[in-house]
């Protein structure tokens, strides 16, 4: 299959499936289960398609005559697309109980999920600012609505309100930035902008600087970097658990995919200008995130706050891109994978034990889980360890790459700060483990059911472990080396 075909097939599949469910949902043959499995199947098939592009190095523009070089398909895109398609698949697979038990999760929700993934696919492939923006808006808007799905819930509607309001606010910065860049470079194509930057002096790049600053602000907003990420706690809290997992794990990957592309192609020339800002942002993000995380009493909000911290870690790698391009960029990809698999697992567990209800899981609600549900407890423990960057989990390897790249770039102090933050994070992640194992709860026999969800949670946990120690020495399963190679290829395909 040619790459062009795959590049077209993946979004087309998502889109057509979305529209099919939209229509099918009106017919009487529609049941929620069918919609669910169609969506799952779509995601799985498109994941398989996308993953064909992983591990080889290629880069091509899709139908350049028609699409006018606005989208490219390369290993980078293929890698990211496979990542978040897998993420979407896992989220949905784990959220089976949620899907079944909530009446607000209608067929439109599947449609929106597919649309958002479509948006992300395009965003990842976008090589032009406006296309990227529209794709981002498609994804964002779908997510806005997914957040507000439970329209009878005060929390959900409030979260929807805040996310929409601030999202639109930040989007307008993007547009202003795009306008300024266009005013200067007379183009919105990333390659053209890069070309322009390469061939001009600083005094004729002023508006590009200002514009890229504005675009960066939007990105910072989306990845919930302080001070633009104040929404994240509210929205994560208000949204249903699977949606939170989706935002934290999947959506973020897509944002970073675009960010990385922009960074590696354009920003890298302004490295000296932006690095201090990114470093400052990373520090503030990590600091505020961990400050918020330590005081939370609800696991979900703690994970929300800690996702801010993880964004901070990734910003460390972004800051290091200028000096240690290859290792930093692949570190970001690896870290994203590490974070997303852990986040999906962790939120999935929460969703699994809340049985689709709207309940905010407190630390106390985890008490005694190790006794009643040892497998679930062990999986959650593994995810927490991975978040905390504990060795033998994939989270540690991710953190290891990031800190290494920071040191390689000469930002040892930044790496030190990252380590300090990781140290603080031990508190809130291990608190979860402590509650799982050490606290007794009155014994209530709870039937959770949904063996499939459980199976996927366990699989995620195993992946987390394998990603931490895995080596092809033992079994012939791709391990750390292979993941690393994949991210290397992805970065190299950007033509650097």
């Amino acid at each position: 299959m040619s790459n062009t075909f795959i590049a077209l097939a993946v979004p087309a599949l998502l889109l057509s499936s979305a529209i099919f469910i939209l229509l099918f949902g009106l017919s009487s043959y529609y049941t929620k289960n069918r919609g669910y499995f169609i969506t799952l199947a779509t995601l799985f098939v498109s994941f398989i398609f996308a993953s064909l592009g992983i591990g080889t190095k290629f880069s091509m523009e899709i139908l350049p005559q028609i699409f006018n070089s606005m989208v490219v398909y390369d290993t980078f895109a293929a890698t990211f697309i496979s990542l978040f398609l897998l993420g979407g698949f896992l989220t949905l697979a784990i959220a089976k109980s949620f899907v079944d038990k909530t009446d607000f999760f209608t067929h439109e929700s599947f449609v929106l999920l597919l649309f958002s993934l479509f948006g992300m696919v395009v965003l990842t492939m976008a090589n032009e600012l406006l296309t990227a923006f529209i794709a981002l808006e498609i994804a964002s808007m779908s997510v806005y609505i997914l957040v507000g799905l439970n329209r009878n819930s005060l929390k959900a509607s409030e979260a929807f309100f805040k996310y929409l309001l601030l999202g639109s606010f930040s989007a307008s910065f993007y547009l202003l930035g795009m306008m300024l860049i266009y005013a200067q470079a007379k183009s919105t194509n990333l390659d053209a902008i890069a070309e322009y930057i390469l061939h001009t002096e600083l005094h004729s790049q002023l508006l590009i600087l200002a514009g890229s600053m504005l675009i960066m602000i939007t990105i910072m907003f989306k990845i919930a970097a302080v001070p633009f990420g104040a929404w994240v706690l509210d929205v994560y809290e208000g949204a249903s658990l699977p949606i939170t997992a989706y935002m934290a794990g999947v959506f973020k990957i897509a944002i970073f995919a675009f960010t990385l592309r922009v960074f590696l192609q354009d920003y890298i020339t302004f490295d000296s200008v932006y690095d201090p800002l990114i470093i400052g942002g990373a520090v503030v993000t990590m600091a505020v995130g961990s400050l918020l995380a330590v005081i939370q009493t609800s696991v979900k909000k703690m994970l929300a706050a800690s996702s801010v911290v993880h964004s901070g870690y990734i910003l460390i790698a972004f800051a290091s891109i200028g000096e240690a391009t290859a290792s930093a960029a692949s570190a970001i990809i690896f870290y994203l994978f590490a974070y997303f698999i852990s986040a999906i697992g962790a939120f999935g567990v929460l969703s699994y034990i809340s049985k689709g209800s709207d309940k905010l899981i407190q630390y106390e609600d985890l008490n005694g889980l190790a006794k009643t549900r040892p497998i679930i407890a062990a999986s959650l423990t593994i995810f927490m360890l991975s978040f905390a960057g504990f060795p033998s989990t994939i989270g540690f390897i991710g953190k290891f790459y990031i800190l290494t790249s920071a040191i390689e770039a000469g930002y040892t102090a930044l790496a030190f700060f990252g380590a300090i933050t990781a140290f603080i994070s031990i508190y809130y992640y291990f608190k979860v483990i402590a509650h799982l194992y050490f606290k007794e709860a009155e014994h209530v026999e709870v039937h959770y059911g949904y063996k499939v969800s459980l199976a996927f949670i366990v699989i995620s946990a195993l992946v987390v472990l394998w990603g931490g120690v895995g080596t092809s020495l033992l079994f012939d399963i791709p391990g750390i080396n292979e993941l690393n190679a994949i991210s290397k290829y992805a970065v190299e395909s950007l033509g650097l």
Partner: protein
């Protein structure tokens, strides 16, 4: 020269009416002054020979969107006493203006310092529907298609959110 005068007048109208918009107590007042802003911006489009966009601006913005807002305002029928009691509104406005001032000042300074103006002479058909249409369907076909999906998403979303639960 004539253009400059017109621009100044329209710009002043746009700015004043937008200031009125953000400072009016009742939303209906805001909406009405926002219409003035939109129309003055549309007029500026016209001044720039963008005739098609002029039309679009009037129809979609001043027409559709603003009607929708007015409709919503009427529909929700918020009484004056139910409006948020914005005691510190003016202080907020003032404070925010002070905060935002450096941002605008810096941007304006950068714009003034930059070398962006090419002062190309536009062709006859510039800004017309054909010109824009050709561009839309040739170079910008992909964003255009994507926007249609975006609208679909918004549509689905609006329906999902607004319908009464069974």
């Amino acid at each position: 020269m004539q253009n400059e005068i017109l621009f100044t007048v329209l710009a002043l109208i746009a700015i004043v009416s937008s200031i009125v918009m953000i400072s009016a107590h009742r939303p209906i007042d805001s909406a009405l002054s926002f219409i003035v802003t939109l129309i003055s911006i549309a007029a500026l489009f016209g001044l720039l020979n963008a005739s098609f966009l002029f039309v679009v601006q009037i129809i979609i913005y001043a027409g559709a969107i603003l009607s929708l807002i007015l409709f919503i305002i009427m529909f929700l029928n918020i009484k004056d006493e139910n409006l948020p009691d914005e005691k510190y509104k003016n202080r907020w406005l003032l404070a925010t203006s002070v905060i935002v001032a450096p941002f605008s000042a810096i941007l304006i300074d950068l714009i003034l310092r930059s070398d962006i103006a090419t002062n190309s002479v536009p062709s006859e058909s510039f800004g017309g529907i054909k010109d824009v249409g050709l561009m839309l369907f040739s170079k910008w076909i992909l964003p255009f298609e994507l926007v249609s999906i975006l609208l679909l998403v918004a549509l689905v979303g609006a329906v999902t959110l607004s319908k009464r639960s069974e």
